[in-house]
Symmetry: C2
Subunit: 159 residues, 2 copies
DNA sequence: TAATTATATGTAACTGGTTACGCAAAGATA
DNA sequence: TATCTTTGCGTAACCAGTTACATATAATTA
């Protein structure tokens, strides 16, 4: 199997390869959604799933769960609100917090959306397997314990 | 091991997890470089390596090798030129092409930079292993054969 | 209770990438 | 050779995320 430049670099090319993979998937996903659901953007998917499961959540909680900064989540939420999929209201117990929940429109449309998600999921299973997901989880957990930045600072101190 | 929301989603969370990993590594890398080499940015690394190996290359070739769009590569190259690490000149055989090469300054500084790269590489080896890289290569190759987008369009046609 | 500190949200400015477009040179074809 | 098509570069406009900052409320402590 012929390897490309980044693949040949082994560990050195790792970060760039993950970025390449991520960007590639993202731009494909944008196009997939463009064809399937004109109104809906790819990263709304997880917002739907999260709120479907939890009912309502604050901005910060959601950002943490999904791995975004809170300003990023606010931007996503504002778009979804503008299209009528999401509504926000003040937490009566803590008026600093804005809680978000799905609208009726979302609830009605979710079954239709789920068909698309299932299709996408079945395609993802074509090119990744359980083993890869497990390895990925290991990597995530190691980085969660100690980030790349922390690890490098430690090494620098050692010297 | 406690799983987070994205990890629990299995295949559905895959794209988002790759993105989370990619972004995390990227922002860490920015901070690492901020501490180590004030002048140098993380994604210059691969430009140095590529030109060190190939001597000189055109903008489009480099973009393809590194998985960027050509405008992205031009931006990176312009920054590197501004700091004196890179120089461009017209290809005498094809005056559409701009060839890029490393400057003397780059050649002199590369040994110093290599120390940092080795340190980073040794840290990457702490949280990924050969097996993970191999699995990643498999995934890349499958997607190279047929992208996510192509696979989904095929599935849609089947129906 | 008053003052301080911490947390939640929202906005602004920035960044690293993209796509879209225009122009010039090279290659292919009538 | 003259025209058409393709390729390569560069710029402009855009986008999804970030960090930094401001403000308001809640929690803690003197």
């Amino acid at each position: 199997m012929k390897k490309d430049f980044l693949q040949e670099l082994e560990y050195t090319g790792f970060t760039a390869r993950i970025k390449r993979l991520s960007d590639g998937l993202l731009y494909d996903a944008i196009n997939v959604y463009k064809n399937m659901d004109k109104e809906i953007e790819p990263n709304w998917h997880l917002v739907f799933l999260l709120l479907k499961e939890k009912g309502e959540m604050s901005v910060t909680e959601m950002a943490k769960q999904l791995g975004f900064s809170h300003p990023a989540l606010i931007k996503i939420a504002n778009k979804m609100k503008a299209k009528g999929y999401l509504e926000g209201f003040l937490d009566p117990k803590d008026s600093r917090r804005t809680l978000l929940r799905l609208t009726k429109k979302s609830i009605i449309e979710i079954p239709h959306l789920e068909q698309n998600w299932e299709l996408i999921q079945s395609v993802i299973q074509e090119f990744i397997d359980k083993e890869f997901l497990d390895k990925l989880t290991e990597v995530e957990n190691r980085l969660n314990e100690k980030s790349l930045l922390e690890r490098i600072n430690l090494k620098l101190e050692e010297k």
